[in-house]
Symmetry: C2
Subunit: 542 residues, 2 copies
Amino acid sequence: MIPFQVQVLYDFSGETNTSELSINVGEVLTVTRDDVGEGWWEGRNSKGVCGLFPESYVERISSAPPALPPMNPLPVTPAPAYQSVPPVYDNDFVSNAPSDDDDWDDYPEVQHHQTKVLPYNQGSYDNSRYQNDDNISESNFGDGKGTAHTKRNLNRFSTFVKSGGESYILGTLKVSVAADQRVVISKHDEVTFSWPQIVNAYTVHITSPKKESKLKGLKSYIAYQLTPSFNNIKVSRRYKHFDWLHERLMEKFSIMAVPPLPDKQISGRYEDQFIEHRRLQLQEFVNYVCKHPVFSASEVWQHFLTCTDEKLWKQGKRQAERDPLLGANYCLTIQAPEKELMSSIVDSKIDANLSFVQNLDSAIKNLMSVAMDQAKKHQGPYKREFAKISESFHRLGFALSSEEKSGMLSLPSAITNIGVAYSDIGQYYEDQPKYDWEPLSNTLYLYKGLTSAFPEIFALHKGVQQKRKECEKNNMPPAELNDIRRRNDVLTYAIFAEMNHFKVQRSIDMKAAMQSYLKEQINFYKKIVTRLEQTLMQLDDC
Amino acid sequence: MIPFQVQVLYDFSGETNTSELSINVGEVLTVTRDDVGEGWWEGRNSKGVCGLFPESYVERISSAPPALPPMNPLPVTPAPAYQSVPPVYDNDFVSNAPSDDDDWDDYPEVQHHQTKVLPYNQGSYDNSRYQNDDNISESNFGDGKGTAHTKRNLNRFSTFVKSGGESYILGTLKVSVAADQRVVISKHDEVTFSWPQIVNAYTVHITSPKKESKLKGLKSYIAYQLTPSFNNIKVSRRYKHFDWLHERLMEKFSIMAVPPLPDKQISGRYEDQFIEHRRLQLQEFVNYVCKHPVFSASEVWQHFLTCTDEKLWKQGKRQAERDPLLGANYCLTIQAPEKELMSSIVDSKIDANLSFVQNLDSAIKNLMSVAMDQAKKHQGPYKREFAKISESFHRLGFALSSEEKSGMLSLPSAITNIGVAYSDIGQYYEDQPKYDWEPLSNTLYLYKGLTSAFPEIFALHKGVQQKRKECEKNNMPPAELNDIRRRNDVLTYAIFAEMNHFKVQRSIDMKAAMQSYLKEQINFYKKIVTRLEQTLMQLDDC
């Protein structure tokens, strides 16, 4: 290429110890490489310093049109493979569409989450009539604080439409699912229905997050190794891949409670502690997916879990993004009991469950905040208290040592040893949260996300019921109305099955989490006892 | 009596729920009884309210001279039985001398501590010449904070004179002590000398502090029961008696480290916790006295410990107050090794010990403040942390209980049990200080008092040395000078013996205190382990 000049439009601070170049508004740079990729260019400033900077932060001094002002050197959302379906939405995905290389790019942690309006929900209805109709405000479902990854817009209009509620209940989407592809909901008792049992249960173990780099070390990222028990073939996945997967699961399984991903975080993302914490939260996510009969068998998940070939990855990715059976329309895959459901029973069951999950959500948040608070206190104030105690015994031992007989078995050294013991105990305190409060927090984080998903699922259900009632009022032909009623029931069965799964899995997971927590608490206090017993023995001997 | 009128000179707030009458300056009262005793009168105010008030707070409206304005309804210091010895001091003890009944009066906790100038130190020397001479400022000996009961005025002049240093070194006091009454100091090695061994060691147990009252319940006080092991005869003593004893010990044994009494405290003195705390500190005081060869054998202590007859008590009390062998003059009782001591060795030993006790004092204060801080934190913040944890598990258990199967063996109830366990653990925290930090504090309080006594003892010793040097310069007759040197040495031997006792006893007491502390800490953490293990078992069973 021929080097060319650009003017800086926005300040950019390069990270220290990287090849990034800090640039300031108005500065003129000489671009030496425009093929770095992923939105980066290499250039040289007036002082002769070379480095990388985001291409969108500068403007070619010749005649090139200025780039849009982004907040960060971000990749734009890739053009979806199905961009040709309803051409009217193309614009959402165009503008600087990067090459497919960004499938494996390295800054998904700051990826924008555009709320994609799914094409098949659009065009045929006048949505405005729902806008003031039975809106369910967010305040009905807790403050949703910190549940970014499962929190959805609870405005019924958007939930209902985006989640395919309208399209589904009216039977707009014409997709037929082969009988052997059907997901069968079975009945346990009058009010309990469940997803099929998982036939070949498996686990996936996430190990050794490692820092990998590309672009000759210019960009680095963390890759987690996932090993499914059914094939033992390790795949390497980054947070951005999890994020992509999570988007797909949220889109497709919006009538179910999709477990949350760990929170996004930009700063300090290469700190070991942060990476390990993220690994543990991803493990919780993966565990829940594996144990969910629908998620664990889903194509997109299987693809995520097993694909090792880059070309196949792209194919599978596009296929997942082209999946039409999203949201309520997933019900088209379901084979539910034939029995018609009674509205009153359904409503009371769902209302009870709504109030249950609201209480649970608040209890979980409360325990989680206590857990995080305790974890912090262990590492700060509690440890400091023991440091103070330690220091005092040290001082007393030292003050006495100038007069008493000295040596290992003297009283002053035994008192100094008490100081050492409390310093060790302080260290136990500092180390402890990773054994008890943090794992408990991770499970609670998972369940906070799951719990907070239900109100929206119930809202979608309410929207579908509402729509059915409207249809009933509008004197539809009986056959069509029957279909609508049946579809409503299938959705209800699906939601009942999901509620049941949540309940069963929750009991198992909560029990395990509490057991593990208590065991570690016991170990912790036992360790203190042992350390103090040693100290007492030394004192007895002096 | 004929009722008479008085005018109130000072405000007095009667304690609620007692027969005390609150009175205000200027008010006119009618006195209905002037034979209540102990400084109290009974009267009626203009509103017809009757009650007791301090007689010294009012002035008879007729011709009676106004009483002196005291700060409190205090008994004045009783006229000592030896008031006739040097008549020049009579004035110190006259003015409103109460009847001997005040031997057992009921407000010694606020008794004034008059600094008595002992008669035999006065008259023959011009003390002014010491005033600017080698004053040892308090700052050399720590801040003395909170050591009210052992802290003495470190101004060398007053210490030296008041402690009998001058009188002793110059041989002014002519008292001969029978050979069998002598206290023999023996030599262990070149630098170690000790008091005689205690032949019949005994202990004294302080039990069941009880609230007693007199004046038909108008006045109440706490009586501690002391049972010496040598006779098993219980005596009842109040804080004021301990205080009197302590005064005597401080006067007589000012060349030794007298253990401190618990701090005086007026408010809340009948609270159970306060009473128990004082009992424990009195027990520490008594323990130390019993184990001290000189204190434990002293007449005043034996009198305090065994006297059960009120008449004999008064006799013994007067005798103790008449004891001429006070302060440095106590050395007249001592039979020390003959060998002359080398000034340089003495000085270096005392200097080393001074710096030792200074360091020890600061280390003890530091650990004591940590101990008191931890005790408080156990009962406040730590307990609250566990309450928070408890509350969170309770909430979670409760939130889950609405959906899960209920009953004793359900998961929600097992989680609620975790909440109960942490609430119990919070209670363990609250209860714990009385087993570990508080007993440790009590021992530290004792040793803080003992340690802080030494700088003054050393200052007295320096004063005596100084006086000897002056005498040496003044060409005294050799025989007299020899006596002076010998007396100086005897004092040095006594102080060495005391230092040795302090060292030996300190090792024993510190070790025992640390052992007990660690044992209780171990029990504490074991108790938590046991409680959590129970909880885990309940969880495992659900």
